[in-house]
């Protein structure tokens, strides 16, 4: 993990390179065009569209000011979706980070089996979310699912995991933790690898071990890694879509509807692209805030 901010090349080189003129611009042009066209303009457009009525069924855009935002925040179904997203994030982000760090430490303690253990623990991160959601939906299926079979062995009545408003969100979140913990583990493994071996020796000489060593030495040293892992976990959780779409479709009774699935429902179920854009824009603001916060945290520490 690169903790140090790399400095740009010496001044002399820079000045002479500038004279070569047009070629660098041309080399940069395709990427600049792509980023502008498919990233930056859409980001701005999502704000623009949220100020208009934009029917998917066709017809002109009509300016409605902030009505769409009002409608979004007024709609109990949207508020439920926002609430669900917050709950989902709360129950996935922290466990994913704790588990990810724990798994990374475990992997490092695995000795000779280390590469094998690491591979096994990283597999969830690579899995196709649609495919794995199909499998989890089957494992938690009301009739015949693995989980209910296990419950039957200990004499517990089958639970309709994905059919009950009280349990569905937790099952979806379980898939989120299963996968995101694998992702954060990867980040932590990379971060721990940058720790100099001398730290270990010094800690041992001082007699600092176990949890104390983790809290006092390791964690502060991998702080940028932890922040990065946290950002990844937040991004993954706040934008959850695939698992919900495949496992529950947002139901039962809207109990698993999230901001992104709700955006989808408003835009492509109710054909109201303007209101959907308003909701998506609110999400974008949150994501940008997370990104900016991350940079603040890191630059405050790094210099």
């Amino acid at each position: 993990m690169r903790v140090n901010v790399k400095r740009s090349p010496g001044d002399g080189t820079r000045r002479s390179m500038r004279r070569e003129g047009l070629v660098p611009m041309l080399l940069m042009a395709p990427a600049a065009a792509g980023v502008t066209l498919f990233v930056l303009i859409p980001a701005v457009l999502s704000l623009v569209a949220s100020l208009f009525r934009v029917p998917l069924t066709g017809g002109a855009w009509t300016f409605v000011g902030l009505d769409n935002f009002g409608r979004v925040l007024d709609d109990p179904a949207v508020r439920q979706a926002i609430g669900n997203t917050i709950v989902y994030s709360a129950i996935t982000i922290v466990p994913s980070l704790v588990l990810g760090l724990g798994l990374a430490l475990l992997t490092n303690a695995a000795g000779r089996g280390r590469p094998l253990v690491r591979t096994a623990l990283l597999l969830p991160m690579t899995a196709n979310l649609v495919a794995i959601s199909v499998v989890y939906a089957w494992m938690f299926s009301h009739p015949g699912g693995f989980v209910n079979q296990v419950l039957a062995v200990v004499g517990v009545a089958p639970v309709n995991w994905l059919g009950e408003p009280g349990t569905a969100l937790y099952v979806v979140a379980l898939v989120g933790v299963w996968r995101t913990a694998s992702l954060t583990m990867l980040v932590f493994v990379a971060g721990l690898a940058t720790l100099p071996a001398t730290i270990d020796e010094a800690a041992r000489a001082e007699g600092i071990r176990g949890l104390r060593k983790l809290v006092l030495i390791t964690l502060p040293m991998i702080r940028p890694t932890a922040v990065f892992a946290a950002v990844l976990a937040i991004l993954n959780s706040v934008q959850v879509f695939d698992t919900v779409s495949v496992m529950t479709g947002g139901g039962p009774l809207g109990s698993t509807e999230t901001v992104l699935t709700m955006t989808w429902r408003i835009g492509f179920g109710y054909f109201d692209l303007g209101t959907a854009s308003a909701l998506a824009f609110l999400l974008l603001v949150v994501l940008i805030a997370v990104g900016v916060l991350q940079r603040r945290t890191l630059s405050g520490w790094g210099r």
Binding site: R2, V23, L27, L123, T126, N128, V135, V187, S245
Partner: protein, 273 residues
């Protein structure tokens, strides 16, 4: 005491590995079990006999065969475009400093904060305006470049000493030759890591194809699997899990082959600038 804690570590590792792998195991197990054993009473860890007919049903009724081809074209098309756009841009942003590259770098850093998921409605409107909705171009073009790719490869290129490039320049090599004969060979590991990442991300991408694809012929693997699940196949879990195996397998194989590049590549990803 020492031995005890060692045993605890081993138990924890075994538990973690089991939880991590179990869904994969259950997927494969169900896919090779005969259909009439799907809803059997009690837990059956291993099917009584192997029945591969689910794979046939997934391949034909689920139309996964065609979807795999679409997925391959889409994933490799995106990768090719991204490499062509990102590598030169990364080089310029790493080694040329002027006002234009400063603006461009800002664009990249801002772009990093804007995931495609939240801009999907303008993107959808955009591909319609361009007339490429419901086409393979509509699947590929929105991802023709990657701010993440530019950033990651730039990090790699920045570690190349300027002296090396100056020497190449003294030999009369222009920007393009310096890029192809000096920069790319040295930055190859980073480029490879990004490539693996890109293939992972776009093979697994679900939201955008769900929006951009209307024709059954253009369904990507996740899309075809989701459609297969939603079509009333009843409770044909062997076929469904067989479909899941088919969609998952290429990525798992790629991961096993390219694991090292991927893990190393991820280590340079945090944004520290």
């Amino acid at each position: 005491m020492r031995i005890l804690s060692r045993a605890a570590v081993i138990v924890a590792i075994c538990g973690a590995v089991a939880v991590s792998l179990f869904p994969f195991y259950w997927m494969v197990r169900t896919s090779v079990a005969p259909a009439d054993e799907t809803f059997s009473q009690g837990i059956s860890w291993v099917p009584t006999r192997i029945d591969l007919s689910g794979y046939g049903r997934a391949w034909t009724s689920g139309e996964l065969g065609r979807a795999m081809v679409v997925g391959l074209v889409q994933t490799l098309g995106i990768l090719a475009l991204q490499l062509v756009t990102c590598v030169p841009a990364a080089y310029v942003l790493a080694k040329v400093r002027n006002r234009a590259t400063g603006v461009a770098l800002t664009m990249v850093l801002v772009g990093l904060l804007v995931p495609s998921q939240v801009t999907l409605i303008p993107l959808f409107v955009g591909v319609n305006v361009l007339g490429i909705a419901d086409s393979i171009s509509g699947l590929i073009l929105p991802f023709c470049t990657s701010t993440f790719g530019i950033y990651l490869i730039r990090q790699q290129i920045m570690s190349i000493p300027d002296a090396l490039l100056d020497a190449a320049r003294a030999d009369g090599l222009g920007h393009v030759r310096r890029l192809t004969s000096v920069v790319i060979p040295i930055a190859a590991p980073g480029i490879a890591a990004f490539s693996v990442f890109s293939v992972f991300a776009h093979w697994n991408e679900y939201l955008w194809p769900l929006l951009a694809v209307r024709s059954a012929e253009l369904r990507t693997p996740p899309l075809a699997l989701a459609a297969f699940q939603q079509a009333d196949v009843g409770y044909d879990y062997p076929a469904l899990t067989a479909g899941a195996v088919i969609v998952t397998a290429p990525i798992v194989v790629l991961f096993l082959l390219a694991q090292r590049q991927f893990v190393h590549g991820m280590s340079g990803t945090e944004i520290t600038e």
